[in-house]
Symmetry: C3
Subunit: 309 residues, 3 copies
């Protein structure tokens, strides 16, 4: 594991050609091969934590901007996108709490919110922080439109529900969330592709239905608490039947170590094979070849078309 | 397909003896054999679109009524029911948004609402339109009681979520709906049978439980986004175990063309057979004969008893 | 069945060593062997019906207290716990409506609420009754902490939805409930174990996830409307994968007659065996021995460790 080329060994052994990262907005994106480690702009901090002095400082430094107005803020976001796009970024991403419901916020309203946030930081009224979050989400989506980047939405997590838990063992969820909350943004940005992950299996049918109806909604993997075999199997079976086959990205590993990809993808591939064998080859009398081709586009082909790689 | 007797050929080939229609309230119900094409009064327009001038005009014309008061309105609805009942109607039906929660509305409150609607049309306050919808729903249910007609409730659809979609490709849903919203109406009309369809599989357990407890609630098919094999299988398995066998209508085709019935019913019958084979013949050691009899009552027998045909 | 030792015969035939009761708070707990019929303090009346004169009378009599202040009330609850604990009680239990969300209530607020309740009984404002319920729930949890008793939460039932139904045929549910409502109490009482049952299968994933993250949350059986084979199978499969194996109590019978335990447990054991055979021995290539050991700890071992018997 200490071998100089350990990571290359892991990639080769795992059959991985490239890895999609999620990078902090102020990541320099230097020092690695962006064709193998493909950048993605992670925007949680911008949308939900702009009231923190630290986040605003990082944004000012990384974009060489002084954040005094909505115009400054919009320019800073544009600068980030240019930086990421220049460095081969293939997506923008964010995780969202169940309560979030994006909508347009006028620049006037956003101006008030920013003023409060610049003055009071995290002590600003919740309504201002919420307005700022919505404005920022919308602004980021506009940049996705401009730069033709898919916007990965990971919907449904409540942070720090068990605050004394270990790192990444603190977050849970309220499963009472609906994709109807995203109706306005799906309609407003028909050219932006939204690969969507949902935290709870009870939201999977909505996801499949919205991907069936909205041309720009794509189902995206099996996230976190839904990334266990029983839920993957149930959710996969439902998606295969209801979602156009070009609009399903079967799986991503959500790995924190390079070594995780192999067992995680093997788990998924075993389940995908089970569903295809039982429900297509046996129940529908498909040929094995046809089932394998269907599986391949879900597992790999759609990644290439959706993320343009 | 252009043969004079094409529709008869399709019916015969499909093994269909009769088709349940859903008819606009101002349908003349003339020109077809109502013993083969059985009328059903579809009431969405009356409940949710009475604020539209066009709907009120159609109601006035079809019932020869001038709609100036609550009394006029109640009389018009009664006239529609008499017209439908005289023409062999076997049910009343409506699709309902997840937000709808029926309750009694006093005639006084309804009078105010009607006044606003007659004056302002669709510009009337949302509270008046909502009050009118509840009053109308209740009034229609009273007519179902009077005329001993089942009231088919199709619960959970949001209309025009993707308004630029093709016809019938615009509607989606917020799955956060509960049958508790119908508690008052189920209790108030014990002699009205409510065959209920739910749009999302996550509501299926509630449906099974309510049909278990309320004598007048019947499970009714697998609707729209839940009408795909994986959801049908899961929902059917749950209903067969929890709902009295005389209170389950297994399937309806929801067809828009006569040719759809055959493949749709074949899909359902294959799934019903699978569930009966795996969970009753194998798991419970039932005889095949017993399983077939159970399936037959779900598939056909209950249609006859519930809709009195 | 009239034999003197009928109950002993049933216990022996069923392989039952002991039965967990749920006892009214004013149960004398005399006249039976508390090592075979293990007491459990059922607290629904205290939390949700203290506004009823009858409940307060029973509490005063059973604890020899005059309920005039919050201090009296707290003392009465403490007396009940001592009585139950002295008589071998191994748990406290309560069933909860979907709307309930426990939180701390100051003694000052509780004092106002109690004053209103003592004066107006069930006619007291809903806000006072709600405040009293929250205060009482919290006070009971504190007693669980003091006496090291697990607090069984049965979450999600709406009482008397169909009020003209037969006894125990009146209650239903609104499945729109989330364990996020219990976040504060789980965090505030880290040493109290909460064995949790949920009424609807759609809440099962939340339950599994919360038991995964919170050290003091344990999954507890398959309750009522989720106690049918299809839901048990789906929910069991999900729990086995996601919840630590020491934090799952597979089943309890919820029986009202001693004779119910045998068939109910047989049903569960058959389903547990099916899931272990299909998903562990076949899918994961486990040895049968390993699967049986896993099943045994779920079915029996954890009952002993969680309830300290």
């Amino acid at each position: 594991m200490n071998a100089d080329n350990w990571s290359e060994q892991v990639l080769e052994k795992s059959g991985i050609e490239a890895v999609f990262l999620t990078n902090d907005f102020d990541d320099s994106l230097q020092g690695f091969d962006t064709n193998v480690y493909i950048p993605c702009l992670r925007t949680d901090d911008l949308v939900f934590h702009l009231a923190k002095q630290d986040v605003r400082d990082r944004l000012e430094v990384s974009t060489s901007t002084s954040l005094e107005s909505i115009t400054d803020l919009r320019q800073a976001v544009a600068t980030l996108f240019t930086h990421f796009k220049t460095n081969n970024a293939k997506a923008c991403a964010i995780s969202l709490p169940p309560s979030f419901s994006p909508s347009t916020i006028s620049d006037g309203r956003a101006k008030n919110a920013l003023q409060q946030i610049l003055t009071k930081g995290t002590e600003a009224d919740a309504s201002h922080i919420e307005a700022m979050a919505r404005w920022m989400f919308w602004t980021i989506t506009q940049q996705c439109e401009t730069h033709q980047l898919p916007f990965d939405l990971m919907i449904g997590v409540n942070r720090r529900v068990y605050p004394t838990g270990v790192f990444q063992g603190q977050d849970l969820y309220d499963s009472r969330v609906s994709l109807i909350q995203y109706q306005e943004v799906f309609n407003a940005f028909p050219t932006v592709t939204f690969p969507i992950s949902v935290l709870a299996s009870v939201t999977n049918q909505e996801l499949a239905s919205y991907a069936w109806i909205f041309p720009n909604v794509v189902t995206h993997g099996h996230w976190w608490y839904s990334n266990t075999p029983t839920f993957i199997e149930h959710d996969t079976a439902a998606r295969l039947e209801a979602v156009p086959q070009t609009k399903q990205i079967g799986y991503y590993s959500d790995m924190y170590k390079l070594e995780f990809a192999l067992p995680k993808f093997r788990m998924y591939k075993r389940i995908l094979s089970k569903v295809l064998a039982e429900r297509y080859v046996i129940d529908r009398n498909w040929s094995e070849q046809r089932a394998i081709e269907f599986g391949s586009i879900i597992l790999r082909g759609n990644v290439e078309t959706v993320f343009d790689i």
